[in-house]
Each structure stands twice: as structure tokens, then as C-alpha cells.
């Protein structure tokens, strides 16, 4: 039997102290929808679990004075869905988070857990990348900020340093004419892992794209920010030629694996198709804003 200690500190400082002191045997617990499955299957046998949900900052959703959002790392998908304005400003981020598992899973699963679990197919990650989210992490050496796309290091690995905890996501204020969307390709409608996931965030003025960001998931060892696809969209009216260039940029960025969910050729093609469909949804929403 594993010797396991469970700690649920009330403050971030205590959590960091306990997490750093326990070293590599320790695991952070947010919603537990990845961690408990890994423990149950015997993949992981942590010696210490640090539950972060009693720390107020970890479960808070805040609208900042400049019109941005700050989301605690352990906020559940269901709590985010119940927020009055978040889904209006960031529909693409919300729809990505709300694709994670069932209603039961959404009652617990957090964007922080989705990112730190390090799956290349994590649904919220491409949407957060497209949103230009910045994360705050804190460890024994203090606080720092990182771009979301810099967090994943490879399947199951992140660039957080030993003892560091993800604290929150900051999403920037939105200029008028902005919106976003997320689509994933799966063989069924619910409860499956993305074959490809695509997040697009756009700002439009008079039908012309003035700013764009594209995130792609499940097509490489980490979620990707596809700058070439964004460049192809910026300055265009999302005409067929611009969309075709952006789709090719997405396909070109792919370094996928062959598995039971999809072949390399299939994932590469679908990445381009999803870009076009996701951009169309984001554009439609942006024009209403």
C-alpha cells in the first residue's frame, strides 16, 4: 500500500511550502479527474497530495478593471459556465472547457489541470493559446508569468520548475469586433479525446481581420500556436484564398502521431479543415460584437 499524505492548505504560501518540501513525490490536486484515474490505474503513486481548492485565489473568477479576466487554476468548467459574463466575452474558451468529459467531469475538471496534465489533446489548451492567455505560476523562488503556449513541454510534461504551482490564467481585455471559437474533431459527439482541436480568436473591423491567433491541439507533442495561420488571416476578409493559406499553414505545422483515433495524413488534413470552420464561427460572433 502507498503511504499517502493528503494536505489541503488555506493559503498559497503554505501550499508552495508543502509542495516544494515533498519534492518529486508530491502532486497537486485540482479536480482530480486526471490524477485520480492515474492513481487508480497504478501509473502514479504520489506520497503527498496537495489539494489547492481551499485556496481562495485558485477558485476565483475575476473581471479585472481593464476588462480582462483572471481565472483561478482550479476553477471547474461548471463554475465557469455559470459565470454571468465569461462565456459572452470568451465563448471559444468556455466551449472548449465545456467539452471536457461529462457533466460530472465538468463539475470538477479545471483548465489548470487540463494544462498541467500535459496532454497534447487537452481541449482547453488550444482555446487558451488562441485567447492569448498568460499564466501566473508561483514557486519557492516567487511568482512569474508565462504564455500558455510555453507551459507544455511534451506529452505529460510541463515547463513548470520543481515546486512551482500554476495559480491563474489571465485573459486580455477585448477590443470591439472580437470573438473566438473552438472546434474539435472526434468520432462521436461527447466523451472522447480530440483527434484534432482548433482554437481561433479574431478581431474584425469592417469585415477585415485586424488581429488573429490560432491554437492547434492533438497534432504534435505539444499544443501549438500557429503564427503563420494567423498571418494569413490578418488583413483579409476571410476570403477563400486567405482561408486556404491559413489552412495550409495549420497542416504544415502538424507533427502528429498515427494512432487508433486518426492517421498522420488524416490529422494533417483535418487541421486545415477545422481552421476554416472555426474561423467562420469566430468571425460570425465577432461581427455581432
Amino acid at each position: 500500500m502507498t503511504e499517502l499524505r493528503y494536505l489541503a492548505p488555506d493559503t498559497l504560501d503554505e501550499a508552495i511550502g508543502a509542495f516544494a518540501a515533498a519534492g518529486s513525490a508530491a502532486r497537486i490536486l485540482a479536480g482530480g479527474t486526471d490524477l485520480l484515474v492515474q492513481m487508480r490505474s497504478g501509473v502514479l503513486k504520489p506520497g503527498v497530495i496537495v489539494d489547492i481548492k481551499k485556496i481562495p485565489e485558485m477558485t476565483a473568477i475575476e473581471e479585472t478593471a481593464d476588462g480582462g479576466f483572471r481565472i483561478g487554476a482550479a476553477v471547474s468548467g461548471m463554475a465557469l459556465a455559470e459565470h454571468k459574463t465569461f462565456g459572452k466575452v470568451w465563448p471559444g474558451v468556455l466551449e472548449a472547457i465545456n467539452l471536457i468529459g461529462s457533466k460530472q467531469v465538468q463539475g470538477r475538471a479545471s483548465a489548470g489541470g487540463n494544462l498541467c496534465n500535459g496532454s497534447p489533446a487537452g481541449d482547453s489548451v488550444p482555446a487558451m493559446v488562441a485567447a492569448g492567455a498568460v499564466v501566473t505560476v508561483q514557486g519557492p523562488n516567487g511568482r512569474r508569468e508565462m504564455k500558455v503556449e510555453d507551459v507544455p513541454a511534451g506529452p505529460g510534461r510541463t515547463n513548470l520548475k520543481p515546486g512551482e504551482i500554476l495559480v491563474s490564467f489571465s485573459l486580455p481585455p477585448r477590443p470591439p469586433g472580437s470573438s473566438n471559437a473552438y472546434l474539435r474533431m472526434i468520432p462521436r459527439t461527447e466523451m472522447d479525446i480530440a483527434v484534432v482541436g482548433c482554437g481561433v480568436s479574431l478581431t474584425m473591423n469592417d469585415g477585415i481581420v485586424t488581429a488573429a491567433r490560432v491554437g492547434l491541439g492533438a497534432v504534435a507533442p505539444t499544443v501549438l500556436l500557429v503564427e503563420d495561420a494567423a498571418k494569413a488571416l490578418i488583413g483579409s476578409k476571410l476570403d477563400d484564398a486567405a482561408l486556404a493559406r491559413a489552412a495550409s499553414a495549420c497542416s504544415a505545422a502538424c507533427r502528429p502521431i498515427d494512432d487508433k483515433r486518426g492517421t498522420i495524413a488524416y490529422r494533417t488534413k483535418v487541421a486545415g479543415v477545422l481552421l476554416k470552420r472555426t474561423a467562420a464561427i469566430a468571425a460570425k460572433r465577432a461581427q455581432g460584437n
Binding site: M1, T2, E3, L4, R5, Y6, A8, L29, G31, G32, T33, L36, V37, M39, R40, S41, I49, D51, K53, S76, M78, G101, S102, K103, Q104, V105, G107, R108, T189, E190, M191
Partner: protein, 158 residues
């Protein structure tokens, strides 16, 4: 290993129990607490047979540590009927034969109850999406969905 002492509220009753730190809430319910209505179908969050609510939010008890219930409020299938009086969903499941073997039923009922509390007038599509995390090998789902829709209509009429 030292057992952990947990104080929580289960179906409205202040409850204390002892558990191992790595026991799931489902282990604690079915073990020391003797509440075996919640079932273990998969122990990995896929089937929903272990559905409970935690502070009124629907969760899988197999994906939660028992120690996490400290200071929170848990509701299980055992809290659904009022004494001998079945909850309208339970009554309707019986009347409309929305169960066969019954393994999925307590999870289906707890999940459907959570839906109707949030949305008393769901569309069929909303019911199906809401119950996507509850697997049933027997009924083919149609009878369950119809029973939920019918219960919702009756509860709205009251």
C-alpha cells in the same frame, strides 16, 4: 497507515467516518458508510454509476477522494426518496420501465435530478447531452430520456 477522520454532511445528516487518504468517496460510501446505492461501474469517470452531488454539483464519486468531502455537503441516491415516498423521477422510472438490470439507475436518477434542479424544462437534446456521462447497457436510453422528460413536465405542472 493512519486513517483520516472526516466530518461531512451526507443527505443532510452530519456524518463522521474514517478512511485511508487514498480512498475515493465511492469507497467510503460503499464501505464504512454502508451507502451502497452508488455503484462502481468503471472507477475511471466514464460510466456515471457512482454519481453524487457535492455542494449541489453533480460529480463522479469515484473521481473524488473521500477526504475531500471534509466540511462539504454530499447527496447520494439514498437521500432522494422522502421516507417511503419516492421522488417523482424514481416513480416515473418504475412506471415507464426506464431500467432493466438497475446498475446505472441510481446514477441516472441522481444526474437527472441535478439537471431538473438546474433546468426544469429541458429539451430532449439537452437531456441526452446532460446524461452523456451515464452509460446504460440495457435500456437503449430511450425509456430513460422519456421518463426524465415526462417527470419534468409533471413537476412543472405542479
Amino acid at each position: 497507515m493512519a486513517k483520516v477522520h472526516v466530518t461531512t454532511l451526507i443527505n443532510g445528516e452530519p456524518t463522521e467516518f474514517l478512511c485511508e487518504p487514498n480512498d475515493t468517496m465511492l469507497d467510503a460510501l460503499r464501505g464504512p458508510l454502508g451507502l451502497t446505492g452508488s455503484k462502481e461501474g468503471c472507477a475511471s469517470g466514464d460510466c456515471g454509476a457512482c454519481s453524487i452531488t457535492l455542494d449541489d454539483r453533480l460529480v463522479c464519486s469515484c473521481l473524488m477522494l473521500a477526504v475531500e468531502s471534509e466540511g462539504h455537503e454530499i447527496r447520494t441516491i439514498e437521500g432522494m426518496a422522502q421516507g417511503d415516498r419516492l421522488h417523482p423521477l424514481q416513480q416515473k422510472f418504475l412506471e415507464m420501465a426506464a431500467l432493466q438490470c438497475g446498475i446505472c439507475t441510481s446514477g441516472m436518477l441522481v444526474a437527472s435530478d441535478a439537471l431538473l434542479k438546474k433546468n426544469p424544462d429541458p429539451t430532449e437534446e439537452e437531456v441526452r447531452f446532460w446524461l452523456a456521462g451515464n452509460l446504460c447497457r440495457c435500456t437503449g436510453y430511450d425509456k430513460i430520456v422519456r421518463a426524465v422528460m415526462e417527470t419534468a413536465a409533471e413537476m412543472r405542472a405542479q
